[in-house]
């Protein structure tokens, strides 16, 4: 901004106003808040990392706010005409991006309150724009733009579809991205990278530079997080916030140590301990790892404490938004005893009354435990305390390990996706729909982002072909080209395409969701289609903390009524199970080693001493330098158990790889099971059990090729393809509760996948799906590390007569498992049909 004596005076005025306001509130500015403000004034971009509730919002908001206040003051005293670079705000200047709609309202109120305090009431307007914002309010925003707008990556993208996006955004000088750590690892983060590149490329009013600031919780790779946010070519500052409060991790250990099951995820067996803990606190958050687990725990706690009906609530991503907002409001006011929740309450909003956090099951990651622990003890000087409730014996080790990692602040890294062509295709249509683009300029602009820095010319050309000529498919139909060249710019000219694209913008994807509602219309939330279609009319199930009976399903809505019948059926939402992080897995091995050496005497480790001793007696308790392999024969067959401790995703890949390699030169079919510690290969035949046979299956040569070959007829790729197809605009699904609009052009992702494989096998989206399976689904990097470690660790091959504490959970688990074979789909069908014949009676249909 310009420098002049009067303007400097005005800035001092703004500074003084801030100080006065702070003194009135009885606060003092933290150093990091001043640092952040000064860096902003110096025109820098950057990243602030600090725990939730420590004042990051204010740190980022102060700079632009003070600047606006100073300009208003300057105008009052000296008068400036509207076109002067230091004229008071007249138009949108600050974009505040939030990952969750639920956070948007809270953030907007917060920012507005600060603005009112510093600039005077109604002097600076902070408005809100998300998918829920009414069109009249959006119209008003276009006519009279606010000073700052709180919005989501998707809504920003929708703004770019408007022809006048440039006018709406030309005065924006600051973009603040809240909870950047949540966005950066996802395709929503990619969408934002592209939108920011676009905003940056637009001519700024008076050449104002664009400052981009990220707010983040602690990550191991902050430099990478910054670079992804502001673009690899730009410089920025990393500002460290306040040192986190002390965190105490306690565990609910039952009096009888026999009380721990060897396996399982739900762990309601010792639920009375949690109920007792609720009695001791004012307001508790009970975190679970999956929505299904949350449903079950909610019911369990209510059964134990029926008198708390109405004082305990259930909160997860599939519960209706209205109900969630009500629960959040009660949390804020402290008028609720406990909320059973999932990661849906990990983020953002400050619930000061919460004085206890309970974690059901292992947190699976250090950063996650840190985040959840930080949800309590917001009073100054309070300690953050988290109470862990293990659901099985091994989780006791994980809790001790998590405490150790937390003390050492060994948090996880997050990595951003690269070359997400599906998101690029979507973005290009977005821009074509807005002001249109020049191909060369756009390619250069896109390559300035982290995600597409390495984008090849071939990939770019393919994407252009896909959105213009529709790949090979639309070559014969020039009239149906989605994006076409008009006066040198690529534009969308078809209204239908335009409308469909706007409603489909966004990359938050999930399974098809069916709305669940009472006949009267009250909506309870959303459940996966795959679950609800298995329930027959008249059958009951648990959802949103209620026992419900299915009345009918129509138009993407399941009508239900309350049921008296108790049912154990709970919807399972796909993809909600997080793998054990590398940090935590390593900490587990270190913990085991120290326990063996008698150096780790945490209450948890003492509680499972018997269990670990049994493992040591039947086999071996592995440490960081050991690679344990067990062999056991059970009535089901011959089982090999491998323990790389690399997390369930990497194990899934490893299991397929090893099964593929072991079966490559002999006739053998394996059934696979995986968990966070290891994997099982089971076969009906006896398996040679020696290192010479097994070790070659663990070499890292030809890794990617062998894994791809071992993948079940591309089923993993096919599952991955669903999101890609949706993002790239290949599938359009009806919205729950809304009438399907384009029935004629609806096809399932798997059907489209098959058609592409058969008729357009060079489609780069197929290759992207494969790449995502390797990178994200199977965590290829982690898998490589695991193989490398296995080659260096000492192998222990132990044949045991009975299952061991380590092998039992694998043996007992059947949900995650699958068969791996090298057959094609056609061969598999033939084999299964043979089996039906063999069984003499035809096979039962599977639910």
């Amino acid at each position: 901004m310009l420098d002049s004596a009067p303007l400097n005076e005005a800035r001092q005025f703004a500074d003084a106003a801030t100080d006065t306001w702070y003194q009135q509130q009885g606060w003092t500015l933290f150093d990091f808040q001043t640092q952040c403000r000064d860096a902003w004034h110096a025109g820098e971009s950057g990243l602030v990392h600090s725990p939730t509730g420590s004042g990051k919002t204010l740190a980022a908001w102060l700079g632009p706010l003070q600047d606006a206040v100073a300009r208003q003051q300057h105008h009052r005293e000296h008068g400036t005409d509207a076109d002067h670079p230091a004229a008071p705000p007249d138009g949108l200047e600050v974009l505040w991006i939030t990952p969750l709609r639920a956070l948007a309202l809270d953030t907007q109120q917060n920012l507005q309150a600060t603005a009112d305090a510093l600039a005077g009431n109604d002097a600076l307007d902070v408005d809100l724009r998300t998918g829920d914002t009414s069109s009249s309010r959006r119209q008003r925003q276009r006519r009279r733009p606010p000073f700052a707008l709180v919005t989501t990556p998707e809504s920003l993208s929708v703004m770019l579809t408007h022809v006048d996006a440039r006018i709406a955004l030309e005065r924006v000088h600051t973009v603040i991205v809240d909870e950047w750590h949540e966005l950066m690892g996802s395709k929503r983060g990619v969408l934002l990278q592209l939108a920011l590149a676009r905003v940056r490329a637009m001519p700024r009013w008076h050449d104002r530079a664009l400052r981009i600031w990220g707010l983040s919780a602690t990550l191991a790779n902050l430099d990478e997080a910054l670079s992804v946010l502001i673009g690899p070519g730009h410089n920025g500052t990393i500002i460290r916030g306040v040192v986190p409060r002390e965190i105490v991790v306690d565990t609910l250990i039952p009096a009888s140590t026999r009380g721990f099951p060897w396996a399982g995820h739900y762990g309601q067996k010792n639920a009375s301990l949690v109920a007792d803990a609720l009695d001791r606190a004012q307001t508790s958050l009970v975190f679970t790892n999956t929505r299904a687990q949350a449903e079950i725990w909610y019911q369990t706690l209510l059964t134990l404490r029926p008198e708390l009906t109405g004082d305990i609530a259930l909160h997860h991503g599939s519960i209706d938004r209205e109900e969630r907002l009500q629960i959040e409001e009660r949390l804020r006011r402290g008028t609720i005893v406990a909320v059973v929740c999932t990661s849906s309450l990990d983020l953002g909003v400050d619930f000061s009354p919460v004085d206890q956090v309970v974690q059901i099951g292992s947190p699976k990651g250090v950063a996650r435990l840190l985040q959840r622990a930080g949800r309590s003890g917001h009073r100054p000087g309070a300690i953050s305390r988290v109470l862990c409730m293990p659901t099985n014996a091994l989780e006791l080790v994980e809790i001790t390990a998590a405490r150790r990692a937390l003390d050492a602040r060994q948090v996880e890294s997050r990595h951003a996706p690269v070359r997400a062509l599906d998101v690029l295709c979507q973005h290009l249509v977005t821009i074509a729909l807005g002001e249109g683009f020049d191909e060369d300029e756009m390619r250069d602009e896109v390559r300035l982002t982290h995600c597409f820095a390495e984008l090849s010319d071939t990939e770019w050309d393919w994407c252009m072909d896909f959105i213009t000529r529709g790949g090979q498919a639309l070559r014969g139909y020039p009239q149906y080209h989605k994006v076409m060249k008009v006066a040198g710019l690529w534009r969308v000219m078809n209204d239908q395409v335009a409308q469909r694209h706007r409603t489909h913008i966004g990359t938050i994807t999930s399974d098809i969701q069916i709305a669940v509602a009472f006949a009267g219309g009250k909506r309870l939330g959303y459940t996966p289609e795959a679950f609800i279609t298995r329930i027959k009319t008249g059958e009951s199930f648990q959802f949103a903390g209620r026992q419900l009976e299915l009345v009918r399903i129509r138009d993407m809505t399941a009508t239900v009524k309350l049921s008296r019948k108790r049912s154990r059926s709970v919807p399972r939402w796909a993809g909600t199970q997080m793998p054990l992080s590398s940090q935590l897995a390593d900490a587990v091995l270190e913990t085991l080693k120290d326990w063996k050496a008698g150096r780790e005497k945490s209450p948890e480790m003492l509680a499972i001493a018997d269990y670990l001793n049994l493992q040591e007696q039947r086999s071996l308790v592995p440490g960081p330098d050991d690679f344990l392999v067990e062999y056991t024969t059970t009535p089901d067959g011959h089982s090999l158990f491998f323990y790389p401790f690399a997390g369930r995703l990497a194990h899934e890949g490893l299991a397929m790889l090893v099964a593929q390699r072991l079966s490559s030169n002999r006739e053998i079919t394996f059934t696979l099971q995986v968990n966070d510690y290891g994997f099982e290969l089971m076969s009906e035949q006896r398996i040679e059990f020696n290192k010479n046979t097994l070790a070659p299956a663990f070499v890292s040569d030809d890794l990617a090729r062998d894994i791809l070959a071992s993948m079940n007829s591309g089923e993993l790729t096919q599952r991955r393809f669903r999101d890609i197809a949706r993002i790239a605009g290949l599938i359009f699904e009806g919205h729950p509760g809304r009438q399907k609009s384009a029935r004629q052009i609806q096809a399932s992702a798997s059907l489209i996948y098959e058609v592409l494989v058969d008729y357009d096998s060079d489609n780069l989206l197929l290759q992207q799906a494969q790449r995502e399976v390797l990178d994200a689904q199977l965590e290829l990097k982690r898998l490589e590390t695991a193989l490398d470690r296995i080659s260096k660790r000492r192998w222990h091959l132990v044949e045991t007569e009975r299952l061991t504490p380590l092998s039992f959970p694998l043996w007992a688990e059947s949900v995650q498992s699958q068969t791996v074979s090298t057959e094609s789909t056609q061969q598999r069908i033939e084999r299964m049909l043979d089996e039906i014949d063999d069984d003499a009676v035809a096979l039962a249909q599977l639910a």
């Binding site: 529709g470 290949l730 359009f732 059907l751 498992s817 598999r828 096979l843 599977l846």
Partner: protein, 232 residues
């Protein structure tokens, strides 16, 4: 091919997802959905061409190997009203040219709009009402009819197979019920809906090479396997 007897008539379940009626030299198929990829393309969704042509090629094979004189499509021959010039219209005409002796009849399905019927080759005979063809009634939508046993389509039935519940696949199926039979969708770009057999139903999984029974209940009185037992 698998032989079954329905109301005293021998019917053959063909792995190409068709039902053959040898005595009348007739082949039944349902839900071909020609031109579906073209419909997508018209709406700016780039699905490659190919499935329609492939479906017609399978019809070629079916007609030749069964020496059929009559092909009855139990609805949804096409996916939507075509735009003149779409390549599948030409491919359909070529198919009819290759089989000059073949009668092609269609029981119009919900996708076969009148406007669409006017666009396709005029040699195709359209029926707006169910066809009575003793002992059968031929129509698109499932349902019962006092005049006879109904052969129909519309549902695209599929069944999940696999002995090990960790290793299953969904394949198209024939669904024989007490008063009607639903054929699997014939088209290559159609997808399916998993159906639940009730007691008295017969479900036949349609593999690439053969058709296999997937029911354990007593067959309905209307349908008896010619050998008196399940076979393939």
């Amino acid at each position: 091919m698998t032989d079954i007897s329905v109301h005293g008539e021998l019917l053959q379940l063909h792995a190409l997802r068709a039902l053959v009626w040898p005595r009348r030299r007739t082949v039944f198929v349902a839900d071909v959905h020609l031109g579906k990829e073209h419909t997508f393309a018209r709406h700016g969704v780039p699905i490659p061409h190919g499935p329609s042509t492939a479906s017609l090629l399978r019809l070629d094979t079916l007609v030749s190997t069964t020496a059929a004189e009559r092909l009855v499509v139990l609805g949804d021959l096409m996916h939507s009203t075509p735009v003149p010039g779409e390549s599948w219209l030409e491919a359909l005409t070529e198919f009819l040219d290759r089989h000059q002796q073949l009668t092609v009849e269609v029981c119009a399905g919900n996708h076969d709009r009148l406007a669409g019927q006017a666009e396709v080759d005029a040699r195709i005979q359209w029926h707006a009402q169910a066809i009575q063809d003793d002992p059968f009634v031929l129509q698109h939508h499932p349902g019962s009819d006092s005049r006879g046993y109904v052969l129909c389509g519309h549902i695209h039935p599929a069944v999940r197979i696999g002995r090990n519940r960790r290793d299953t696949l969904r394949v198209p199926a024939f669904w024989f019920r007490p008063d009607h039979a639903v054929l699997p969708a014939f088209g290559d770009f159609t997808g399916g809906q998993q159906v639940q057999a009730e007691p008295g139903d017969q479900l036949w999984a349609c593999g690439p090479q053969r058709v296999v029974a997937c029911h354990r209940e007593q067959a309905p009185a209307a349908c008896k396997d010619t050998n008196g037992k399940v076979s393939s």
